[in-house]
Amino acid sequence: MSVDTATVKRVAKLARIAVTDDEAKNLEGELNTILGFVEQLNEVDVSNVEPMVSVVAVDMKKRVDEVTDGNKAADIVANAPASDENFFQVPKVVE
């Protein structure tokens, strides 16, 4: 499988990364090199093989239902590029 420039642009859009035409062209080459490299996996027979879920077989830890966190709105927005009265601010979203 290989990608073309249009695919690169579609993927960049999905990943929310602005790319110029030149960058898309470069990425196309790089991505195809990497995809060509991983093509080797086609040689492997994985029929009847379960995908790896966790490298260590353990039961998932669970929390008891208690409120142990929160009430630190100032900390939550402390690093925000834009905030107002403990809200995050973002460019207006139109629905």
């Binding site: 499988m1 990608v3 695919t7 690169v8 993927v11 960049a12 859009k13 999905l14 990943a15 929310r16 990364i17 602005a18 790319v19 990425l27 790089e30 991505l31 090199t33 990497i34 995809l35 490299f37 991983v38 093509e39 080797q40 996996l41 040689e43 492997v44 994985v46 093989v49 379960e50 995908p51 790896m52 879920v53 966790s54 490298v55 260590v56 353990v58 998932m60 830890k61 929390r63 630190k72 900390d75 927005v77 402390a78 690093n79 925000a80 590029p81 834009a82 995050f88 973002v90 460019p91 207006k92 979203v93 139109v94």
Partner: protein, 493 residues
């Protein structure tokens, strides 16, 4: 005053306990050494001298009252990937500009709880993506090692390049690092230091910016095997905040040192003998085999048939997870924001400006392999290949093998700005060819210096162990260290 920065953690600990030196003196020596070296090496991206002195003072008080912790007064460097309260934590990325978390990662908290002193934050490949430290937003770290009669700057390896360089240059006593595909072991091998990636689940991932969640593990880089054992003991813990951390007591790794390897079975995997392998690396490996044999270990040939698929599978799994893990860097909650004409444009401009080329490449690959119609062919397939890789190891261990010996890297450290690797991303990825299988199977692996190349650069060997059997790795690595001796870079900076 003798140069206190020459002391290993174990040696400094003795002198501190005996009150021959104070923690403040030790810390001041490191601060002075950093001042002298960092301009040339670029190992630290942020320094915290005041904090360090404060912590050292507190350590001296603890020694005075007899309440010293296991790492009391030991000055450490912290990879920039670890969240440190109110201190620069940017994963060496532009996108986390100015980020100072309101939390402390579990691993670093464990270190501070044991009395360690923080010198600052260490350079790394951006978001731990790279094998040369060249993808850092802060520029490459230089390897303290140079080839004989050369002044060409070499990479320290990556992604924990700052950690390895700082340890090798004696500008910290030890450093935290992380390893997703070889990011502890490869830089350790390139700098003549010891690096251990423990079993997945041994160290908590809480508070460490994620690259690939199913592969990331924290571990130490130190000057010798004993220091690695001391540091890992403090770093490791069971953490209720990390669902994937494992509920097993942390053993006293140091106690394993000095034990005999007599009768131990050491596996030598045929598949690691790759075509066109550097003869120096082959010779180093043979030397390692000979040392272990001399120490009484039984050497057995083993096969890990799916080895060659580990790296391609890794370059699906790791970018896929990364593409999702790095979605949170969107200019809303922290770090860089580049204004845009609407919200989508803001995201796209922020992420385009905030991420470097390698990170973007991996996000793109990861996004592509997870996108509609490709999941089964790529991600699911790669996760199945992982099962096969893990099974290979399980079979070998079931046959009685105690540990596996391999080279750590295919070569010694290369030059900064290497043209071959620049032109072809896969060439750079091949640096991890010996280390990545270990991450894919979640096993522990240690890199230990074993000799110098013909040009005088350090080379390392890797030992791979059973899950949660880090003790065997420390013991065996100790035997190699004993035979090979220790290696220190000549100071040129």
């Amino acid at each position: 005053m003798t140069d206190l920065t020459a002391l290993t953690i174990a040696e400094a600990r003795e002198k501190l306990r005996a009150k021959e030196i104070s923690a403040v003196e030790l810390t001041d020596s490191y601060i002075a050494a950093i001042d002298a070296a960092n301009g040339a090496l670029n190992a630290y991206v942020a320094l915290t001298p005041e904090k360090a002195r404060e912590m050292a003072k507190a350590s001296d008080a603890k020694y005075a009252t007899g309440n010293a912790g296991a790492l009391e007064g030991i000055p450490l460097g912290i990879k920039d990937l670890f969240g440190t309260m109110d201190v620069h934590t940017q994963a060496a990325s532009h996108i986390l500009d100015g980020f100072k978390p309101k939390y402390e990662s579990t691993v670093t908290q464990n270190l501070w709880d044991d009395g360690a002193v923080m010198l600052g934050k260490l350079n790394m490949d951006e978001f731990a993506m790279g094998s040369s430290n060249e993808t850092s937003y802060y520029g490459p770290t230089k390897n303290p090692w140079r080839a004989k009669d050369s002044n060409v700057d070499l990479v320290p390896g990556g992604s924990s390049g700052g950690s390895a360089a700082a340890v090798a240059a004696h500008i910290c006593a030890g450093a935290t690092a992380t390893d997703t595909g070889g990011s502890i072991r490869q830089p350790a091998a390139f700098t003549g230091t010891v690096g251990i990636k423990p079993t997945y689940g041994r160290c908590s991932r809480w508070g460490v910016a994620a690259f690939a969640s199913s592969l990331d593990q924290a571990g130490p880089i130190t000057r010798d095997v004993r220091d690695a054992a001391i540091m890992l003991k403090s770093m490791a813990s069971v953490d209720a905040k990390d669902t994937t951390s494992v509920d097993l007591p942390v053993p006293d790794y140091e106690a394993a040192l000095g034990g005999s390897v007599k009768g131990m079975k050491i596996g030598i995997p045929a598949e690691y003998r790759m075509d066109g392998m550097d003869p120096e690396i082959v010779a180093l490996w043979e030397q390692g085999i000979a040392w272990l044999k001399d120490a009484g270990a039984e050497i057995v040939d083993i096969s890990l048939p799916n080895t060659k698929y580990a790296l391609p599978a890794y370059y699906i799994v790791a970018p896929a997870e990364a593409s999702s893990n790095l979605a949170r860097y969107d200019g809303v909650k922290y770090g860089l924001r580049v204004p845009g004409k609407d919200i989508t444009d803001m995201y796209e401009q922020t992420r385009a400006a905030g991420f470097g080329a390698e990170v973007k490449r991996r996000i793109m690959i990861g996004t592509y392999v997870l996108s509609a119609g490709y999941y089964d062919a790529y991600y699911l397939k790669a996760q199945k290949v992982r099962t096969l890789i893990k099974r290979d190891f399980e079979n070998v261990f079931a046959d009685g093998v105690d540990a596996i010996l391999t080279p750590a890297t295919p070569s010694a450290a290369f030059g900064i700005g290497d043209q071959d690797m620049k032109a072809d991303p896969v060439k750079m990825y091949l640096n991890d060819v010996f280390t990545v299988t270990v991450n894919m199977a979640g096993l522990p692996g240690i890199a230990v210096p074993a000799g110098l190349s013909s040009t005088g650069l350090p080379l390392g060997l890797q030992l791979i162990g059973k899950p949660f059997d880090e003790e065997t790795l420390f013991k065996t690595a100790g035997v190699i260290e004993q035979a090979a001796g220790k290696f220190t870079a000549d100071k040129w900076w």
